[in-house]
């Protein structure tokens, strides 16, 4: 989130993707930074997924990712 905050400060729009348990951490950090970066959340957990499952996760979230980058 610090990376996106800094990149946005440099004028580059950004979005981060995290798994669901990060929602509250992201909110806390966003409140503390006084800046609400665009963030999207996937199902948890991630690290034990098969390639095929990861691909489905990415496909499911892709439209929202694009929306977060476009005006």
């Amino acid at each position: 989130m610090h990376d996106i905050s800094d990149l946005e400060r440099r004028g580059t729009p950004g979005v981060f993707v995290a798994s669901a348990p990060f929602i509250s951490a992201a909110e806390t950090q966003s409140n503390a930074l006084g800046f609400p970066p665009a963030g999207l959340f996937t199902e948890h957990p991630i690290q034990d997924r098969t390639d095929e499952e990861m691909k489905v996760l990415a496909e499911k979230i892709f439209d929202d990712l694009v929306k977060a980058l476009l005006a």
Partner: protein, 482 residues
């Protein structure tokens, strides 16, 4: 936020404190008025259980008392549509009867009159705290920074800075700044370009705090902004032009000294708080309130360090001549601010001229270089004559008018040298001007002469102007309103 008083229920409300003998005295009356449902609420300032009645309301925070400007207890307010329409102060049987519109105040055997006591909300020891807590008295939005935001970074992040650090405009600082002017915070003093936004004294004060001004500079900043936002000065044009110009501000009159401005050594340079921050406050206000930001409406090709704010004072005390303001008909006791649409300053060296005529020629040569040596008449100039140069003229008995006239005379050019193509340079006047002469500076106003600078140095400084006249900007002087 203009009126931030909490709304009250319609009817009558009372303010009391236990520590007041008058309030103690009238407890039976309050009981009667509660039972007969004449009173809606009794706000108590020091003891939530006094008087021990169902309509007693805890105001030990003093918020309601403070915001309703209760100065004495007991006080009765009459509330209609949530706001006060009348009040009576202290205890008087007859007044209360008339005020409440009733004949019976209950027990008839208490003292019919007692003046009451001071309200806790006006206790001098508590004033600062209450003022800070409830008495914002400001109309501007409060911006609350997040816990991990660095306050200085937070101001950069919001785009408020000209690139240099800003002083955080806290309510306390802004209020202290507002005390520097007699004008009301909500007075609209100008409409600021480019977004044509109403500019209040309060917004000027906020930007003046950020710029680093002291409260006593505020009248100067306000008058400078009033001047900048006139049609004649055309601040919008100055912002939008690709040329590196901004409002160059100079001050005349006693305020120069009282606020500690520099008119001597290094007057155009760093080191003096008033010189450094007044011009910056003007520029920050235009940036933040008007929306005039570099890269947006501000299209300057190169810009100039002077665009951070260029402000100085004329050296009147050391001058052999009347001040610029006096030349315009102001008295020595009047304070004025002049705005000139100009670039950064540039020096003119002449360490050898002994006669005034030589020196006038030499200074004219220096000014001819402004903008472009082949472009004439369209651009005015300031000449800040240094004390050593000024004394050359003064010793010879030259008046300022004479110096001005001679410099303009010596700036006269053969137009054959100025037309397009002359000297192997395309830039220049159209062919139709050939075969004549023209001065660099328009006679009758093209040159402003000021006196200023350090005692040593056979130099003067010039500030080149932007396009003069209706198509550009016309420099302006105003008396400073305190």
């Amino acid at each position: 936020m203009g009126n931030n008083r909490p709304k009250l229920a319609n009817g009558f409300v009372a303010f009391v404190k236990k520590d007041c003998p008058t309030c103690e005295l009238i407890v039976p009356v309050l009981e009667h008025l509660t039972e007969s449902q004449v009173l809606r609420t009794i706000f108590t300032q020091d003891d939530p259980s006094f008087p021990n009645l169902p309509i007693t309301s805890d105001d030990t925070s003093l918020e309601v008392s403070f915001l309703h400007e209760i100065e004495t207890v007991p006080t009765l307010l009459k509330i209609q549509d949530g706001v006060e329409v009348d009040r009576t102060v202290g205890w008087s049987q007859e007044t209360w009867k008339a005020f409440l519109g009733i004949d019976n105040l209950g027990p008839g055997n208490i003292r019919p009159y007692s003046p009451g006591c001071g309200s806790l909300s006006v206790d001098p020891d508590l004033q600062g705290i209450l003022q800070k807590k409830y008495g914002s008295g400001v109309a501007s939005r409060e911006v609350v920074f997040a816990s991990a935001e660095d306050e200085f970074e937070a101001m950069y992040d919001r785009g408020w800075s000209d690139g240099l650090p800003l002083i955080p405009p806290t309510i306390e600082r802004v209020k202290a700044m507002l005390a520097g002017s007699e004008r009301r915070p909500d007075e609209v003093i100008a409409v600021v370009p480019p977004n044509l936004v109403d500019l209040t004294v309060e917004k000027v004060a906020i930007n003046a705090v950020m710029a680093g001004c002291k409260p006593e500079y505020l009248p100067v900043v306000i008058t400078a902004l009033e001047t900048a936002c006139t049609d004649q000065f055309n601040m919008h044009g100055l912002l939008a032009t690709t040329m590196p110009v901004g409002p160059v501000i100079f001050i005349n009159g006693p305020i120069r000294k009282s606020i500690g401005m520099n008119s001597g050594m290094n007057l155009l340079g760093q080191g003096n708080r008033a010189n450094s921050t007044i011009g910056r406050a003007v520029q920050l206000t235009i940036r933040n309130v008007g929306g005039g930001r570099p890269g947006e409406v501000d299209r300057a090709t190169h810009g100039s360090p002077a665009k951070y704010g260029l402000c100085f004072a004329e050296d009147e005390e050391g001058s052999p001549w009347p001040s610029y303001a006096q030349d315009l008909g102001f008295s020595a006791n009047q304070n004025t601010v002049t705005l000139f649409p100009g670039e950064g300053p540039r020096m003119i060296v002449d360490q050898l001229s002994r006669s005034p005529d030589e020196l006038a020629r030499s200074l004219a040569k220096g000014i001819i270089g402004n903008i472009h040596p082949k472009l004439v008449m369209g651009f005015d100039a300031i000449l800040i004559i240094g004390p050593e140069h000024a004394s050359r003229f003064a010793e010879a008995g030259w008046t300022k008018d004479q110096v001005n006239e001679e410099i303009i005379n010596h700036s006269i050019r053969e137009t054959d040298e100025l037309i397009r193509g002359a000297d192997g340079i395309s830039e220049g006047l159209p062919e139709v001007f050939a075969g004549s002469t023209l001065p660099k500076l328009r006679p009758g106003g093209g040159l402003i002469i000021l006196h200023g600078g350090g005692a040593a140095g056979l130099f003067s400084a010039t500030i080149g102007g932007w396009i003069t006249g209706d198509k550009g900007s016309i420099y302006q002087t105003r008396e400073i309103t305190l």
